[in-house]
C-alpha cells in the first residue's frame, strides 16, 4: 500500500467551492494524510521538523492548491524554502526523499484551451509548473504529471461533486497500488491514470 501525503494550501478555504468539496470528499480516508498548511501555520511559521517527519513517512507527496498567479499560494513557497533543507532533501548527503513521487493537484479558473499558445495564458500549465518538476529532480524524486481541474469558474455544484469523486477514486487507486506510480511521470495529466486500462495501470 502506498502512503499518500497531501500538502494542502488555500488561504481562504471558507470561500473556496472546489477545494472545500475536494477536501470534504477525501478527508478521513485511510492511508491518505491531509496536511492543511494554513491551518497548521496561520502565521507562516513552519515547523520544519514536523514537516520533514511527515515527508519521510509517505511515498507520494502531492501539493494540492488553487493555481494562483501561475503558481501556488505563498505558504507553499515558504514550505519549499524551509522544509527542503540542504543536506536533507538535496546535496551530497541529502537523500531523505530519494525515490518518492512528487506532484501538484491544482484547480484552474480557465479552461484547458486558454493554456495554449493562442489562449490568454499562452503557455501550457506544465511550463508554469517547471519549478516544481525541477525541485523534485533536485531532491531525487520523480515528478508525477499534474492533476488539473480546469475551468472551475464555470463549474456548478454537481460538476464539482463529480470532480471530487473522481479525485477520491484516483487517490484510492494510488493508495491500493492499482496505479503504478512509476507510470505517473509519463502521463500528461495525472487525471489520465483513471482512463488507463486496468492491466496497464497496475503492475
Amino acid at each position: 500500500m502506498a502512503r499518500v501525503l497531501i500538502n494542502f494550501a488555500h488561504p481562504a478555504l471558507e470561500k473556496s467551492r472546489v477545494h472545500k468539496q475536494l477536501l470534504a470528499t477525501i478527508r478521513g480516508i485511510k492511508g491518505i494524510t491531509i496536511n492543511d498548511l494554513y491551518e497548521w501555520y496561520p502565521d507562516l511559521d513552519i515547523d520544519v521538523a514536523r514537516e520533514q517527519q511527515l515527508l519521510e513517512k509517505h511515498d507520494i507527496i502531492l501539493l494540492q492548491h488553487p493555481f494562483y498567479w501561475y503558481s501556488a499560494p505563498a505558504i507553499i513557497k515558504q514550505w519549499l524554502d524551509l522544509v527542503l533543507e540542504h543536506g536533507w532533501a538535496y546535496g551530497h548527503t541529502g537523500k531523505a526523499l530519494q525515490g518518492k513521487y512528487f506532484g501538484n493537484v491544482i484547480s484552474a479558473g480557465s479552461s484547458e484551451r486558454n493554456y495554449q499558445p493562442e489562449g490568454i495564458h499562452q503557455y501550457p500549465v506544465h511550463q508554469f509548473l517547471l519549478p516544481y518538476s525541477q525541485t523534485a529532480a533536485l531532491c531525487n524524486m520523480q515528478y508525477a504529471a499534474p492533476y488539473v481541474i480546469y475551468g472551475v469558474h464555470r463549474m456548478d455544484i454537481e460538476d464539482i461533486r463529480t470532480a471530487a469523486e473522481q479525485y477520491r477514486h484516483m487517490l484510492e487507486l494510488l493508495r491500493d497500488d492499482k496505479i503504478d506510480p512509476a507510470a505517473l511521470p509519463r502521463l500528461t495529466y495525472m487525471n489520465e491514470a483513471l482512463q488507463l486500462p486496468s492491466q496497464t495501470r497496475s503492475i
Binding site: 520544519v48 524551509l82 551530497h92
Partner: protein, 629 residues
C-alpha cells in the same frame, strides 16, 4: 528586660502581625481583621504585651494613618476633585450632614448638652478611611460604583475634619480648656477664637510651606542623586508636619492630609508616593493592631449591653442615611448595600476628635473612653460586615439574573455558542473581537456598574457571578460550545473552571491566567487553553525593541514567536515538577540555561536552527568542495 523598650515593643508588634495576618488570610478574613485580632491578643485585655489598661497606645500607631492620609492627599489632583465634585460634595456632604444631624439629635434626646451633642454627631458621622479603603482594595471593589462613591464620601469626611477641629473650641467656649492636657501646646492659654485662629494658621503655614519650600528643596535633593535621601525627605516631611500639628494641638493625620493635597501637583509627587508606600502598609498595620489593642474590655464588661447597643444603633443610623443617599444617587441595590455596609463604621478620626473634645472639655472623660471603645469595636466589625456582604448578600443578588431574563423574555431562548465570564479590559477585547466576527456571545459580569454602562451602549451583558451553577445554566451553558473565563480575580476563575468541568464537561474552556502560579493550577485542573494575560503584549514589545535596535521586522517577529513556543514548553515542564521544590529549582535553572543557550546560538547563527533552508552555509561549502576537486 524592660518590657517597654522600643525594641521589645517593635518585636511584639511585628511578631503579632506576622503570626496573625497570614492566619486571618488563610481563614478568608482579610489582612485588616488579622491585624485587629493581633492587637486584641497582644493588648492589655488578653496578654498585656503592649499598653497598660486605659493607656493611650494609639499615639505612635497613628503614624500609619498619618502616612495614609498623606498619600490620599497626594491623590487629590484638582482634576480628580473636579471630576468627583458632585459625589464628593453631594454624597459626602449630605452623608456627614445627615448622619451628624441624626446622631446629634439622638444624643440630645439621651440627655447630652446641646453643644456636646453637636460634637458627637460630627465625630460619629465619620467613617474609617483606613479600614474601608484597605478592605475595598483587598476585595477588588475599589472600581465598582459603590467603591467610587465610598471613596468620594471618605474624601469629603477627611476634608470635613478641618472645619470640625476649628469649630470644636468654639462649641466648648466658656469651659476651661487648660486642665488635664496630656501635652502642652501653643494653643493652651488662648481664648476660643484664638484657638480657632491657631488652627487656621497652622493649616495655612502647611499650605505655604508646601507651595514654596518643598519643591526647591526636592530639586536640591534630586540633584544629589542619592536615592535614600529622597525617602528620608519624604519621611521628614510627614514627620515634620505631624510634629508641627502636635505642637499646635491638632491632628497630625489631618496635617499630613493637607501636606499631601498641597503636594498633589508637585513634580515629585510620584517619587514621594513610591518612597512612602512601603512604610504606609506596615504602619497602617501597626495602627490596626493598636485599634485592636485599645478595645477596653473591662469597660465593655461593665456595660456590655449599653456599648454593643450603641455600636449597633450608631451603625444602623449611619447605614440608613447611606442607603437613602445611595438611592438618591441612583446606586443599584447591591451596590447601595455595599456602600452602606462599608461606611457604617466610625473612623479613626473619631479617636483624634474625641481626644480633642475631651481636652477642650466638650465631652467628659468617661463618655470619651466609652466612645473610644465603641469606635474601635465598630472598626473591628467592618471587615466582618464586608465578609458577610461578600458571602451572604452579594450571592443573593446574582440570583436576580433569571429575573432580568424575564424582563427581556424575547431573549431567554437565545442560545449563543460562546459564554464570556468577565467583561473587564481583558474579556471585553475578546468579546469585541468575536462580535466583530459575527459570533454571538452571552456575557456575564459581576460589576453591576459596568453592566449598566454596557447596557447603555447597547451591549447585552448579564449581571452576575459566573461561579454559580444556576447562573451559568441560565446563561445557556448546556448548549454553548465555549466558555471564555476572563474574570479579574483568580479565585473566581478557578471556581468557574471547576464548576464548568463538573456540570458542563462538554464546554471547551479558554481561561485567562494572571500569575504563573495560576497557570500551573489551571494545568493541574486539566485546562488545555490557558492565556497568560501579558505574555503576547510583552513579546510584541520585545519584538519592537529588537526592531528598533536594528533587527529586521520579520526576524523580530519570528524571534518573539520562537521565544513564546519555548516559554510555553518550559511552563509545562516546570508545572510537572513544581510540587517538588528542589526539583523545581533545578529544572527552573536548567530551563533558563537552555533558553539562554538558544538565544546565544541565535545570535551567532543569525537565526535559530529552523529556517536553515533560507541561506544554508552547507550549500556554499559543498559547491566550493566540488570546485576544488
Amino acid at each position: 528586660m524592660n518590657q517597654h523598650s522600643l525594641l521589645f515593643q517593635s518585636m511584639v508588634y511585628l511578631a503579632a502581625a506576622i503570626v496573625f495576618v497570614p492566619l486571618a488570610k488563610k481563614m478568608g478574613l482579610g489582612a485588616v481583621l488579622g491585624y485587629l485580632i493581633a492587637g486584641v491578643i497582644i493588648g492589655p485585655s488578653v496578654m498585656g504585651f503592649i499598653g497598660k489598661e486605659g493607656e493611650d497606645i494609639m499615639h505612635f500607631a497613628e503614624f500609619g494613618v498619618v502616612m495614609m492620609l498623606f498619600l490620599i492627599g497626594m491623590e487629590l489632583e484638582p482634576t480628580l476633585l473636579w471630576r468627583l465634585r458632585t459625589s464628593i460634595l453631594g454624597l459626602g456632604g449630605l452623608q456627614v450632614l445627615g448622619s451628624a444631624a441624626a446622631i446629634a439629635g439622638l444624643a440630645y434626646l439621651l440627655g447630652q448638652p446641646f453643644n456636646a451633642s453637636l460634637a458627637l454627631g460630627m465625630i460619629l458621622s465619620l467613617s474609617s478611611t483606613a479600614i474601608v479603603l484597605q478592605t475595598l482594595n483587598e476585595k477588588g471593589w475599589m472600581g465598582t460604583a459603590a467603591g467610587q462613591s465610598a471613596f468620594s464620601v471618605l474624601l469629603f469626611q477627611d476634608i470635613a475634619v478641618i472645619p470640625m477641629l476649628a469649630i470644636f473650641p468654639l462649641l466648648a467656649s466658656g469651659a476651661a480648656n487648660t486642665a488635664d492636657l496630656h501635652e502642652s501646646s501653643l494653643r493652651d492659654n488662648l481664648p476660643a477664637w484664638g484657638q480657632t485662629l491657631v488652627v487656621l494658621g497652622a493649616v495655612a503655614s502647611i499650605i505655604i510651606a508646601g507651595r514654596y519650600l518643598v519643591n526647591p528643596l526636592m530639586r536640591i535633593i534630586a540633584r544629589t542623586r542619592v536615592r535614600e535621601l529622597f525617602t528620608a525627605m519624604a519621611l521628614l516631611m510627614v514627620v515634620a508636619i505631624a510634629v508641627l500639628m502636635n505642637l499646635v494641638g491638632l491632628s497630625s493625620a489631618l496635617g499630613a492630609f493637607l501636606g499631601g493635597v498641597v503636594l498633589a501637583n508637585s513634580e515629585y509627587r510620584h517619587e514621594l508616593e513610591s518612597d512612602i508606600e512601603p512604610f504606609k502598609g506596615l504602619l497602617l498595620g501597626l495602627f490596626f493592631i493598636a485599634v485592636g489593642a485599645s478595645i477596653d474590655f473591662t469597660l465593655i464588661m461593665e456595660e456590655p449591653l449599653l456599648i454593643f447597643g450603641l455600636v449597633l444603633g450608631l451603625m444602623l443610623i449611619k447605614a440608613a442615611v447611606l442607603m437613602i443617599l445611595g438611592k438618591v444617587f441612583k446606586l443599584s441595590t447591591d451596590q447601595n448595600l455595599l456602600f452602606a455596609f462599608a461606611l457604617a463604621d466610625i473612623g479613626e478620626f473619631a479617636f483624634v476628635l474625641l481626644a480633642f473634645s475631651n481636652q477642650v472639655r466638650l465631652i467628659d472623660a468617661r463618655l470619651s473612653a466609652m466612645l473610644t471603645a465603641i469606635v474601635a469595636i465598630s472598626m473591628a466589625l467592618t471587615p466582618l460586615i464586608m465578609l458577610l456582604y461578600e458571602k451572604v448578600v452579594q450571592p443573593r443578588f446574582t440570583r436576580q439574573i433569571p429575573k432580568q431574563d424575564e424582563r427581556s423574555s424575547d431573549e431567554i431562548h437565545e442560545k449563543n455558542p460562546v459564554i464570556i465570564a468577565g467583561f473587564g479590559r481583558f474579556g471585553s477585547m475578546t468579546g469585541r473581537f468575536l462580535r466583530a466576527n459575527g459570533i454571538k456571545c452571552t456575557i456575564l459580569d459581576m460589576d453591576s456598574d459596568r453592566v449598566d454602562a454596557l447596557h447603555n451602549l447597547g451591549i447585552k451583558v448579564y449581571y452576575g457571578d459566573a461561579s454559580r451553577y444556576d447562573l451559568l445554566a441560565a446563561a445557556g451553558a448546556a448548549d454553548a460550545k465555549l466558555l471564555i473565563v476572563a474574570t479579574d480575580q483568580y479565585e473566581q476563575t478557578r471556581q468557574i473552571v471547576e464548576l464548568a468541568q463538573k456540570y458542563f464537561p462538554h464546554l471547551q474552556l479558554l481561561v485567562r491566567a494572571q500569575q504563573v502560579e495560576d497557570s500551573f493550577e489551571l494545568m493541574d485542573l486539566g485546562v488545555l487553553h490557558i492565556y497568560r494575560e501579558t505574555v503576547d503584549t510583552s513579546l510584541r514589545m520585545g519584538a519592537d525593541a529588537l526592531r528598533m535596535l536594528g533587527a529586521r521586522a520579520y526576524h523580530s517577529e519570528r524571534a518573539a514567536r520562537t521565544f513564546f513556543r519555548q516559554d510555553e514548553r518550559t511552563l509545562k515542564g516546570l508545572s510537572a515538577t513544581r510540587d517538588d521544590k528542589k526539583q523545581y529549582l533545578i529544572s527552573m535553572r536548567e530551563r533558563i540555561e537552555e533558553m539562554e543557550k538558544l538565544i546565544a546560538s541565535d545570535r551567532i547563527k543569525t537565526w535559530l536552527d529552523e529556517g536553515q533552508g533560507w541561506d544554508p552555509e552547507s550549500v556554499r561549502d559543498e559547491v566550493r568542495g566540488e570546485a576544488e576537486s
